[in-house]
């Protein structure tokens, strides 16, 4: 049985995303679009975790470090420069460079997988504490006061490239975010289909074999981690744009935990899963937030436990297997996959 080509599924997903992009403004008002914008920023963040964890096999507990770094980089840079064009790219490049540096020490230092988790977690906690303690007039970078635990208010939104006098409206920010989500998704699919992506997945499967075939796993993991850091930084930039505000909670532990829940719920080893997981969980949190009876963290905890126990693969892989089984049943028996070849 030849595996199906990846093109139909890629086209279907892209078409569905474009449909949502242009369909949503028809069915919801400005409030809905603004809310969707933060969901999209979280979906981009979930993609970064889904990529490095599900395909690179790197368990990062600290994707929020790059997310927060991206957000702060954008805020500080745009307040100093005025024009948002360079800050936008800086918000991707700086976290990517930081991830590359951190990755260099972790992967070239031959640290075991468990310690990668510990180190990334520690890094985000350190960043939280550092930024949290920058309250007061002393702490500023250029014209941008860091504000400590109060965060940085009134961060200017993205403007038309090269034209600071034309800031984007919230609807336009929504379109930009959605377009970037689609772009990141397509880019990751392309990476995974490339030779580089195949080797990355092979390394996840068996690092020793990859080395014995002449690939250097350290380099591949470093690159995957840096790409993930850049995407998380982009998500941070979009998040800051959504509210015009950023505070140290972006580095917090609950933020880190949420990203992992996005990916677990949606499905590890897929790209669409983390996107759906992020949107579903964020929607759930916003619904719970509108009432007082139940605490959001409590519900999230229940969701996590339920998924780990009942649907450990996540929603998307379970659905995909179900659909494939149904398709196989509909086909006549003669056309089904050949029986197991004799060993």
């Amino acid at each position: 049985m030849k595996p199906r080509s990846a093109w139909p599924s890629l086209c279907a997903v892209l078409a569905a995303m474009l449909l949502v992009m242009f369909g949503l403004p028809l069915v919801t008002g400005l409030f809905g679009l603004v809310q969707a914008t933060v969901f999209i920023a979280m979906a981009v963040l979930a993609l970064s975790q889904g990529f490095i964890w599900g395909f690179g096999g790197i368990m990062s507990f600290g994707q929020s470090a790059f997310f927060g770094l991206g957000g702060y980089t954008y805020a500080v840079a745009v307040m100093n420069m005025g024009d948002s064009t360079a800050p936008f790219f800086l918000a991707i490049l700086l976290p990517a460079a930081f991830a590359a540096l951190l990755g260099y020490f972790m992967f070239y230092g031959r640290i075991s997988d468990a310690y990668v988790g510990v180190i990334t977690l520690t890094v985000t906690v350190i960043l939280f504490n550092v930024v949290n303690s920058t309250a007061g007039d002393v702490y500023h970078i250029g014209n941008a006061p860091l504000g400590g635990f109060n965060g940085m208010p009134s961060v200017p939104p993205l403007n038309m490239p090269g034209d600071p006098s034309t800031p984007l409206e919230p609807q336009q920010i929504y379109y930009v975010c959605m377009a970037l989500l689609i772009l990141v998704y397509a880019l990751l699919r392309l990476i995974l289909a490339s030779k580089f992506g195949r080797v990355v997945v092979a390394i996840r499967e068996n690092e020793t074999r990859a080395m014995l075939l002449g690939y250097d796993p350290r380099l591949y993991k470093l690159l995957v981690f840096a790409i993930g850091g850049g995407i998380a930084g982009l998500a941070g930039c979009l998040f800051t744009n959504w509210g015009g505000f950023i505070s140290p909670t972006v580095f917090g532990l609950s933020q880190s935990a949420q990203i992992i829940i996005f990916v677990l719920v949606g499905g590890l080893g897929t790209l669409i899963g983390p996107i759906l997981g992020a949107v579903a969980i964020e929607y759930l949190i916003s619904v719970i937030g509108s009432q007082q009876t139940l605490n959001a963290d409590l519900i999230l905890g229940v969701v996590l436990v339920a998924f780990v126990l009942l649907v450990p693969q996540g929603v998307v892989p379970v659905l995909r297997n179900g659909v494939q089984r149904l398709l196989a049943l509909r086909r006549p028996a003669a056309l089904r996959a050949p029986k197991v070849a004799q060993p």
């Binding site: 195949r198 020793t208 014995l212 075939l213 002449g214």
Partner: protein, 239 residues
């Protein structure tokens, strides 16, 4: 004398107080087929791990075509042209047979060339029918063949096979021996095996390891009739 393909001198590996490989001087010519035998714990697999950079020798040197590779990284040695099928199959369990071999073929080759190479290798090893099955679901013998296929797609000049016939049926053993002889037309091999019948099928020269040292190195007939070799395989103390 021309430079040997592989040469070790004084190669030693100590784990704490245990000397697993003890000053081994070993040489292999271009396109030579050598069998390596010896009881469990003789140091054969440790020897292979040092040749492929998975273990750093305590002392001694390894040269590949005269080039010192003693401290080279595993992937660098692989790039020079050394392929290995490990004792416990190291394969990409979550991927298909095709992808396992493709990942090996695609290093240094554009995708269309790599695909042709994969097709050729799978035809050669007879895995075409199961090319799109997931390797983790295959039987042990088949997974060994997948690993051998990946090593072949890597196109190495020296192939190390650690117990290629283990867990195979008689027919599979015969097929493996035919494949090894075919490979040997263009590539050098070192084969570690316990199955004496298999050794007889393929071997010309046999090196016997015992307690980390080379005990004898001779033609297959001379080695298999050697009384000391018989004794160590039957568990007696080597004289």
């Amino acid at each position: 004398m021309s430079v040997p393909l592989l040469q070790t001198s004084g190669l030693t590996m100590r784990f704490g107080g245990v000397t697993a490989v003890d000053s081994v001087d070993f040489a292999l010519g271009e396109v030579e087929l050598r069998c390596l035998i010896g009881p469990n714990g003789a140091g054969k697999s440790t020897f292979f791990k040092m040749l492929t950079g998975q273990l750093m020798p305590t002392a001694g040197t390894i040269r590949f075509r005269g080039r010192d590779i003693t401290e080279a990284k595993t992937h660098e040695i692989a790039r020079l042209g050394v392929g290995i099928k490990t004792q416990v199959p190291n394969v990409f369990n979550g991927l298909s047979v095709y992808e396992n071999v493709f990942v090996a073929a695609t290093r240094g080759h554009p995708p269309h060339r790599a695909r042709t190479m994969v097709d050729q290798v799978l035809t050669r090893t007879g895995l075409t029918d199961i090319a799109f099955r997931t390797v983790g679901q295959l039987a042990h013998g088949q997974r060994q063949w997948v690993e051998i296929s990946a090593v072949l797609a890597q196109e190495p000049d020296l192939i190390l096979l650690d117990e290629p016939a283990a867990g195979m049926t008689y027919d599979e053993v015969v097929r493996t021996s035919e494949l090894i002889r075919e490979i040997n037309r263009a590539q050098a091999l070192i084969v570690v095996e316990h199955d004496m019948q298999f050794i007889r099928m393929i071997a010309k020269t046999v090196t016997v390891f015992n307690r980390g040292r080379i005990l004898v190195e001779d033609s297959v007939d001379a080695v298999l009739t050697n009384q000391t070799v018989r004794d160590i395989y039957l568990g007696k103390q080597a004289a």
